[in-house]
């Protein structure tokens, strides 16, 4: 072993790669801030609350969408200098795969549990992901200074529910800065240094990437074996694409270029990559001239789960919308879109997302950052349709469902959902799952107070209003997590909606046969509520095939005129008229009926519980 390698090894021993896992609201971001502060990675002046959540939207919603990592120098109590790499994880079930990859970049994880709330379903799900990746898990009981804190109960919960030894769990309050040093000491002493062979061919795992207008794609990587440096020719093992590295570096926490990233290190790579799709999360980067034999385990191609149509309210915004999607796609390898045409809405795009949150985020960014008012159709899942002629088609848009006589059967995606609730709500939750076509799997009492209920549910039902109903039905106490388990045959039919006798393709939806009448009725009632009265009577019909299953009528508006208008009033009247006109702009003329934006999402607002 030469001197360089020995030095390398000494360095490697001082690296600790870890992340923080927590249920939303349990204080992950605040803890990350305190750690940054404590290690002096950020000066007070730079300190901006919740540094890691860098998008406005993330900070507003308190969730993490884009991953970040920070390199923190830390002088431990043993007198040695360590390099701590804190890798952030996204905080939502839509991004489970990204969570698993960022955890795979670590050797350890802090498990933050709220001292009052205790273990939640999402906590469990993330712990299992961490355990799958063989991480050392260090429990932290946070918010111990809350009046309702009960650290001992929570400690017991962590042991009973998760099966972790919590005897050394740090009692902390990230908000008040209690326990931060102790946490860092535990990271140093408990989290193993990265293994990995500095002399083996390069293997670096991509855990995220983002597009930069000047540098191209910036890839966030963890070097598992070997090293990566500027000028090196690298190959992406899943896509086979090759690039020359133009820059490597670390986040300290601002990006800082380095000569090389050695084994065990976490940082970024830039290689004039034009498209984030070439840097897939989970893929392995290797040396093009001396490639590794096998890629790292765990790579998975992820497919969008939820689709919806996005149309500009003003059809002249179409090109701008396409540009916005192109730009967003640069940064979001899981966003998919392709042009589609709707009879009712004109030209737009069918877009695919990882889940509902992902969809909302993209919608919001288009409206906010690109300033394009949108009409979004209700989200749909992907159905597999087995036709009588033997053909099998995947349907992302309900409109494309073939006529029933051509359909042999239809499959829809199912998830396994875990719902954790206090005892009192078991009945409510089971009833809800049952009403959402759920199939009971399991129920387990976690302790005297709490129950974990497992159901298989059609993804489509979750896409509807499951979250909201679960939240309201359990007064916000339920926590919820799910994973995809595959497709199952269901008795599904397409519901068409006619406005003023004309079918409106963008309002069609797919519904389970047994619920079709009920949902059809609910839907036309909702539309009646949402569509303003027009100068003429507008019948609304819900049909399956040629059969009308529900009907409502929007009465005609009889008059709409300002009685008085004198000179002095003109400014005020103009404002009134402008407001009226503004309202109209948010509407789409479907045939001769003015339909407001919300109507296209109305299918999500039907409350099944009001039976």
């Amino acid at each position: 072993m030469n001197e360089k390698n020995r030095q390398q090894e000494r360095q490697q021993e001082k690296i600790r790669n870890f992340s923080i896992i927590a249920h939303i609201d349990h204080g992950k971001s605040t803890l990350a801030d305190r750690i940054l502060e404590h290690t002096g990675a950020l000066s007070d002046r730079e300190m901006q609350d919740q540094f890691l959540d860098s998008m406005d939207l993330e900070r507003e919603r308190g969730i993490t969408i884009k991953l970040q990592s920070v390199r923190l120098p830390y002088k431990a109590k043993d007198g040695q200098d360590y390099i701590l790499n804190l890798i952030d994880t996204p905080g939502h079930v839509d991004f489970t795969y990204e969570v698993s990859r960022s955890l795979a970049a670590c050797e350890g994880a802090l498990l933050v549990v709220d001292a009052a709330q205790g273990v939640e379903a999402q906590t469990m799900a993330n712990v299992y992901l961490a355990l799958d990746n063989d991480l050392e898990i260090l429990p932290v009981i946070n918010k111990i200074d809350l009046p309702s804190a009960d650290p001992e109960r929570v400690r017991q919960e962590i042991e009973d529910l998760i099966g972790l030894d919590a005897s050394e769990a740090v009692l902390a309050s990230a908000k008040s800065g209690i326990g931060i040093e102790e946490i860092l000491e535990q990271v140093v002493t408990q989290v193993p240094a990265p293994a990995g062979d500095s002399t083996a061919p390069l293997k670096a795992m991509i855990y995220d990437s983002l597009y930069d207008a000047y540098k191209g794609v910036i890839t966030y990587i963890r070097v598992v074996d070997g090293s990566i440096k500027k000028g090196q020719k690298v190959r992406m093992m899943a896509t086979g694409k090759e690039f020359e590295v133009t820059e490597v570096g670390v986040f300290a926490p601002r990006p800082m270029a380095r000569e090389e990233l050695a084994v065990g290190e976490v940082g970024f790579m830039v290689a004039s990559i034009k498209n984030v799709k070439d840097t897939r999360v989970g893929d392995t980067i290797t040396d093009a001239n001396r490639p590794a034999e096998e890629p790292l385990a765990g790579y998975r191609r992820i497919n969008p789960m939820v689709f919806c149509g996005m149309y500009p309210v003003d059809s002249s915004d179409y090109d701008d919308l396409r540009e916005a999607l192109e730009k967003l796609e640069l940064n979001d390898s899981s966003l998919r879109y392709e042009p589609e045409t709707s009879g009712a809405l004109g030209f737009g795009f069918r877009c695919g997302f990882l889940g509902l949150l992902h969809m909302e985020i993209i919608q919001e960014r288009i409206e906010r950052e690109y300033n394009i008012p949108l009409i979004t159709t209700a989200p749909s899942v992907v159905y597999n349709v087995y036709k009588t002629d033997g053909e099998v088609i995947s349907i992302e848009n309900p409109t494309h469902m073939p006529p029933s006589q051509q359909v042999e059967y239809v499959e829809e995606p199912y998830v396994k959902a875990s719902i954790m609730v206090p005892n009192d709500f078991v009945g409510t939750v089971m009833e809800l799952c049952q009403s959402k076509r759920g199939e009971y799997v399991d129920m387990r009492y976690l302790d005297a107070n709490r129950v974990n209920i497992v159901y298989q549910l059609p993804l489509a039902e979750i896409v509807y209003d499951f979250f909201d109903q679960l939240k309201s039905g359990t007064k916000g106490y339920a926590s919820f997590d799910y994973e995809m388990i595959g497709y199952k045959t269901s008795k599904l039919v397409k519901m068409d909606i006619l406005l003023n006798g004309e079918p409106v393709d963008a309002l069609s939806f797919i519904v389970h046969h047994d619920k079709a009448y009920y949902r059809g009725r609910l839907f036309v009632e909702k539309l009646k509520e949402l569509i303003p009265r027009q100068m003429f009577e507008v019948p609304i019909q819900a049909t399956i095939g040629n059969k009308v299953v529900a009907r409502e009528t929007i009465r005609a508006q009889r008059k709409n005129v300002l009685a008085k208008c004198y000179g002095g009033d003109i400014s005020r009247k103009r404002k009134l008229l402008e407001k009226q006109k503004e309202g109209k702009k948010r509407m789409k003329a479907v045939g001769n009926v003015e339909v407001p934006q919300e109507a296209f999402m109305a299918v999500l607002q039907m409350d099944d519980s009001k039976k």
Binding site: K559, N560, L562, G567, G568, I570, L577, Q580, K581
Partner: protein
């Protein structure tokens, strides 16, 4: 057009004996109010105003409120004298109107008004059922209406307008029919008939929010409007504007100034004016108004009306009139053809049967009359101006 001085004057008297439940105008209950100081200030405002915008021959004056007739005889005389001093050139055909509540015009005051030049009175009758009057917070009685009209005529004021309202709480179609019959029996020269609009900050708005305002159904309201149109036209009053009806030649010249988008002086607290391409609104509070008039015009806000806005207003206001908007007058005023500026909007509205064109003028259809707001708002932001160097 921007250099001509207005030929119309609006003067606001913001005092009332009592505030009505639907009123959101600048109006203060008169007891304890500094009425004389207000009149002092009003004179100063006239002085500041004519210094800036010298008066030409005046064709219409309108004293509104509030209730201008709460001024006592002396105050009234003083006000009218001041108006004449600052605006001395009058057309022979001047229309000089004052608003009055029935029961506030005793003979002596009427004589002062007549001597001051007033030749038209607009009485706020509103309705002819005592309980409905009480409901809306009016303090006059049904018999006050007829008596006031009679006294005015006896004194020599022969141009009388009556204000009526429909869509009032608990009002029925039959009530409205009755009100029109009673109104027509008094044979005024002019009617203004408004539907109640519940504005924010009024007693009615508060009641509406509490669900305690039993307004008639939209269907009934529509019937009241159509009934009004039918009955008044049958009685010889033609509908020359959405809410206004007149015997031939007795259309309100002053209000037509507004609808024809012509300039006018606006004086008094909260008053609006439009002169030389600028709209302004005065400060609202009486105290503030009085203070501000010490030092200049008491303007709260001014708005430069852009050429495009002026063209939009021309449509929004002009289409309220039965005669509508003349293509020739539009071209004369803006030096561009109406069809160039609003061709697309006009075509769309014509297709929807909301507008019609006849002999070079555009006007509302029967349907357009009911959906005026849809028509007016259609013009906003839709004009195309082809004039170079505007």
């Amino acid at each position: 057009m921007n250099n001509v001085s207005p030929r119309s004057i609006y003067i606001h008297i913001p005092f009332c004996s009592h505030k009505c439940h639907y009123c959101d105008f600048t109006a203060y209950v008169v007891g304890g109010q500094p009425v004389d100081e207000y009149l002092d200030a009003l004179e100063r405002e006239m002085a500041w105003t004519v210094a800036e915008i010298p008066p030409e021959e005046i064709e219409t004056i309108f004293i509104g409120g509030g209730t201008p007739t709460v001024l006592d005889v002396k105050q009234m005389e003083r006000l009218l004298t001041a108006i004449r001093r600052y605006f001395p050139f009058w057309s022979d055909e001047i229309e000089y109107t004052i608003e009055a509540n029935p029961g506030t015009t005793e003979k002596e005051k009427l004589e002062v008004m007549l001597a001051g030049g007033i030749n038209r009175i607009s009485f706020g009758a509103q309705t002819f059922r005592p309980d409905l009057l009480a409901n809306i917070g009016r303090v006059h009685s049904v018999s006050d209406i007829g008596r006031s009209v009679e006294t005015a005529r006896a004194v020599g004021i022969h141009n009388i307008s009556l204000d009526l309202m429909f869509g009032l709480p608990k009002q029925t179609v039959a009530d409205m029919e009755e009100a029109i019959r009673e109104g027509v029996a008094l044979a005024p020269e002019h009617f203004s008939v408004y539907s109640l609009k519940v504005e924010e900050g009024t007693v009615f708005h508060a009641k509406l929010l509490q669900g305690k305002l039993p307004l008639p159904s939209e269907e009934d309201e529509l019937m009241m409007y159509q009934l009004t149109r039918e009955r008044l036209q049958a009685a010889g009053y033609s509908q020359y504007e959405i809410s206004n009806f007149a015997r031939p030649g007795k259309e309100s010249k002053h209000n037509s100034t507004y609808w024809k988008n012509n300039p006018y002086y606006g004086l008094g607290a909260g008053a609006h004016g439009y002169a030389r391409g600028v709209r302004h609104v005065n400060v609202k509070g009486v105290g503030e108004y009085i203070r501000r008039c010490e030092k200049g015009r008491p303007i709260a806000e001014t708005l430069d009306v852009t050429r495009m806005e002026a063209m939009e207003n021309e449509m929004i206001l002009g289409l309220r009139l039965e005669e509508g908007v003349h293509e020739g007058r539009f071209r004369e005023r803006f030096d561009v053809a109406l069809a160039v500026v609003f061709g697309d909007v006009l075509a769309t509205l014509e297709k929807k049967d909301l507008l019609q064109k006849e002999m070079g003028r555009w006007s509302l259809t029967e349907k357009g009359l009911l959906f005026g707001n849809d028509v007016f708002s259609a013009f906003l932001g839709e004009g195309v101006d082809h004039v170079v160097g505007r």
